[in-house]
Symmetry: C2
DNA sequence: TGACGTTTGAAACAATCGTTTTAGTTATTA
DNA sequence: TAATAACTAAAACGATTGTTTCAAACGTCA
């Protein structure tokens, strides 16, 4: 009676609800999205969310968990793929990491909004932060840091974590402020944006490896 | 009867409501903060918000407008002050811009949460985006860009706006993910964080000015 | 077919939301 | 002091929220 169904036989309704959750929660956030909107978007009955997931919050958690894992796994695959190739460089790695999601974001696909979802989650903390922190750090950031060190000899190991953080900040920015970019730089192309980020981050990391003396002082 | 009071004689209740709004909206966002929480925090009656501001959203708008202008003006003052001194450098400018707000954020003061409020606003867009975009760009970002060009000769002018954006991304990151920083790097000091950001951004900007040929490729 | 477990539909639930109303209190001014 | 405006207090309002209920419909296997 009070057991949540988990048969995965007729996943149609469940998947449609997960899709609707991804779309609406990304766009408007958790609080401003009602279960009536979700079920309407999914084309199912109002009670379906409670029937299949046990509540609005459980649906959110399930959706977030999936998207989050998918994002991390996608990045790990990208890194592995690039590192296996012969002509690997820092610039090339940065480019393949940031370009696909940026293109998706500009195309306004749902997948491009996942980073917004992540930021919302960090702010609102509906899910156990330990879970998000642990996976994000141990799986992705640590891997990225070791690759940076591999590609750019001379990086101070004790600062690697901070470097990865700042890199994350740079790539996160256009996702959060996409409208701002488009309004203040209407002629900006995706290539220009991608090239800028690559150049900016690469310069920062390489500058870190070969510390320059202060000028103009 | 239906006119909103704007006497500014007894500003006690109004200011207490604005303070409560700043605190609670920053912490929990607009939707998850109720007028009952706000009036309790402010120590006034439930109807006071509608009486003085005309509604919950008007209170939010008024609070945001004030905080936003205060933040921009503070940054402009900081820039002007630094640029007037004799031994001005890019590193010094970066340091004085980012250090005070970071210290406030670590101390968990309300003022340190304003950037979170800004990000929330960009996501939810309760206020006319034109207003935020216009002031942010014309008053602050343009000034910052011109100062960067002044301090670092050789910066490509057509990329200045993007450089400022990426700089914003780097400094925004620790504010959004402060808990993440503290959990994954518990021994990190504020000085180390500030020095890292200065070094990272300075390297990025200087590297932009003197384009390096790609290595390892 | 008949019975049973699963899924759906529509209505109703209690709780909370922002806002309004109304009466009462305080302050101000003539 | 009387009258008017400014403010506060408490209750109630209508709307919306997430959730629950329960009967009808569906699918499956005897």
């Amino acid at each position: 009676m009070d057991e949540i169904r988990r048969d995965f036989e007729n996943e149609d309704v469940q998947n449609r609800l997960l899709d609707a959750a991804e779309k609406l929660f990304c766009e408007k956030g958790f609080a401003r999205t009602s279960v009536r909107e979700l079920t309407t978007e999914a084309g199912c009955n109002l009670a379906a969310i409670n029937y299949y997931f046990g509540g609005k919050e459980k649906l959110y958690t399930e959706m977030f968990r999936r998207q989050f894992q998918m994002m991390i796994q996608g990045h790990l695959d990208t890194i592995d793929q690039v590192m296996c190739e012969g002509d690997v460089s820092l610039e090339k790695l940065l480019k393949v990491i940031i370009e696909p999601p940026i293109r998706r974001a500009v195309a306004n696909e749902t997948k491009g909004q996942i980073l917004k979802l992540l930021v919302r989650e960090v702010m609102d903390q509906k899910i156990d932060p330990e879970y998000v922190v642990k996976d994000m750090k141990e799986k992705f950031f640590d891997r990225l840091g070791s690759v940076f060190m591999q590609l750019v000899p001379g990086l101070p190991e004790e600062r690697i974590a901070l470097i990865v953080m700042s890199f994350d900040g740079v790539i996160l920015h256009p996702f959060l402020f996409m409208e701002f970019y488009q309004k203040t730089m209407p002629d900006l192309t995706i290539d220009e944006l991608v090239n800028h980020i690559v150049r900016f981050v690469a310069a920062a990391i390489r500058g870190y490896a070969s510390p320059a003396e202060k000028e103009a002082g």
